[in-house]
Symmetry: C2
DNA sequence: TCACTCTGATTAAACGATTAATCAGAGTGA
DNA sequence: TCACTCTGATTAATCGTTTAATCAGAGTGA
């Protein structure tokens, strides 16, 4: 129950040096008027005492906690490690801590998670929204990372352009019939990626889109996608809208005895952890998460600094879209004019 | 710059009701002596004003922030989503927030991350340590989640037993020669898993262990593992020590024209997100992260409640190991007495 | 009636930092 | 010398909550 004081505080330093707390505070923050040598002495002494300012005291006085919230409604998302890492890094560099909030599940839980963060006094938050939900702005500045086409988006990877990269790459390899494999038609991100692919196709090319969640509603989770059949229909390239889907396609095709990239090509999105190490390694498109996180966080921090306290605003950044980068690996190759599923050549 | 007051505070409620702040505080926390009806009135009024206690004020007074730190030195780890989700859920249920800290890289960075958390005033932290590092306990209670064989471990999945499950499963399918595929020999977790597999093998069974990092030091990252050759040497089962490695093995074998599970079996660990959806879906062993997180957090919270402030202790829990659960899917099947790599049957 | 206890409330002092307001003293120009 | 400015420091209030200490009043037993 004891509320002892573990570390030294301002007043300890002050009395120990025979000056006032205000002077110590000013010296350390460099704000008031303190003589150069005194500043020196105070800083030195503070350092040697191992002084760490109390966030609680500061927060109480200033009304700012120095903490940002990170809301990831789709936390099972395999992109999470990258996102969390990038946000934490950027925030930490700006002197902020990162409080995570997960809403397992529905939109109500997302709102609830946001409220929890607000109650904990975050100064602002970064939200990667659940598919197609709008953030009714909370009681603090909010930066949204989704996709440039989403209204209210702060900054995001240019998924549309990423799609064009994929289309261009496949077109250059001579592919004419492309099957786009998506998960959920509600997802802004996936829609933009698919749209980008379609818009990047050259005359004479044809695409079809397969949305897996529909298929799974009928046939159960993890059901076969029937890709071998698609190969029979003349599709030579499978452009998945995420690396997880690409992996699923890759293994299903391989299991059916179809060789990649000899028979057909497979591409993904995101450059997730397994993409470089599967066989064949996955051609994909990478987003510069560090850059995106950096922009989001610095825009957020700027807004926090300039806006009055507890104001709910959607943060805007100068750069709203960050280019994606095509990573060509082994899973894509020249189009095979007539791939056969029944016989195959080993190299 | 204005330090305005966004929400109502204790004194607002107090004056509005014509009572003292202390009474309001007591009524809301149920601590002092307040008459039943007054408690009722105060609670009601607080609720309708939408009162939210200031964490800063409380933290300053009590010396507790209500925040736990989560240190994940190996944040790129694909297990991260599950861990973070489970910890956040458990902490949130106990009334705590979760501050994340990532140390990209070395052990020094890990220490630095821990310090950052301490500076932010966390009441305790959960650490998933970098391979084989010991946590020199910080200035607050620390719960460690690694593996039961690690000294100082608080609670963890029983990786050894998980290994035995795998061994038993493969033995039951008639496999006699097993190749264990690990990543890093320094990892306590992987060593325990491998040890469990070996200890669970029946007489007449034989195993060999392939550590990938060595291979990659010579041949570069993402190099082939030469598994087809191992099949030629009579190995019929490949027991990877993580699902990522299993995936790598699976695709390499498939690409070499070896059918799974007809020719050989592949198993993993962790039941990561892709395990159910690849073809063939992956037989693996799942850890009950929710349970582990629950135990770790409640042990941590208990320690925080009872110990005096800022004391650095390694938390211990009653239950130290949590059983892993075998998930049998399609990637494992009866041993094929003489698998051939050059020809295969499609079902 | 007096001394005492018990109840239900209030008072006031923290916690640690920030910052506006104040102040002492030195220097300066007329 | 006086009025003024400038510098370098101090004083004191404040943020919102918790909690030990205090207090007024009612009830009680002798």
């Amino acid at each position: 129950m004891a509320t002892s004081r573990p570390g030294p505080n301002l007043s300890r330093i002050a009395t120990s040096l025979g000056v006032s707390v205000a002077t110590v505070s000013n010296a350390l923050s460099g704000k008031g008027r303190v003589s150069g040598q005194l500043v020196e002495r105070i800083r030195e002494h503070a350092a040697e005492l191992g002084y760490v300012p109390s966030q609680a005291g500061r927060a109480l006085r200033t009304g700012r906690s120095g903490v940002l919230g990170l809301v990831l409604p789709d936390i099972a998302n395999p992109l999470f490690p990258k996102i969390a890492q990038a946000i934490e890094f950027a925030a930490s560099a700006a002197g902020y801590g990162v409080l995570i909030a997960d809403s397992r599940g529905d939109v109500a839980a997302q709102t609830e998670a946001i409220n929890r963060l607000v109650e904990r006094g975050v100064d602002g938050m970064v939200v990667i929204p659940r598919r197609a939900t709008r953030i009714s702005s909370a009681a603090c500045p909010v930066a949204v990372i989704d996709t440039p086409s989403t209204p209210g988006n702060t900054v995001a990877a240019d998924h549309w352009q990423g799609g064009r990269e994929i289309a261009g790459h496949l077109a250059g390899l001579g592919h004419r019939r492309i099957l786009i494999i998506g998960n959920n038609q509600e997802s802004n991100v996936q829609n933009d990626r698919a749209g980008g692919i379609r818009s990047g196709m050259r005359p004479g090319m044809h695409s079809e889109t397969l949305w897996i969640d529909r298929l799974e509603q009928e046939n159960g989770n993890g059901c076969p996608l029937g890709l071998a059949e698609k190969v029979g229909q003349g599709f030579t390239a499978f452009a998945a809208l995420s690396d997880l889907l690409a992996l699923r396609a890759l293994t299903e095709l391989q299991q059916a005895g179809i060789n990649i990239p000899t028979d057909v090509s497979v591409t993904g999105f995101d450059d997730l952890i397994w993409s470089p190490v599967v066989t064949p390694s996955l051609t994909t498109v990478r987003m510069d998460m560090d850059r995106i996180a950096g922009i989001a966080v610095s825009a957020l921090v700027d807004t926090i600094r300039t806006s009055s306290i507890r104001e709910g605003v959607l943060v805007t950044a100068e750069i709203e879209r960050v280019a994606m980068q095509l990573i060509v690996r082994q899973s894509s190759g020249p189009a095979n004019p007539a791939p056969r599923t029944s016989e195959k050549e080993n190299m």
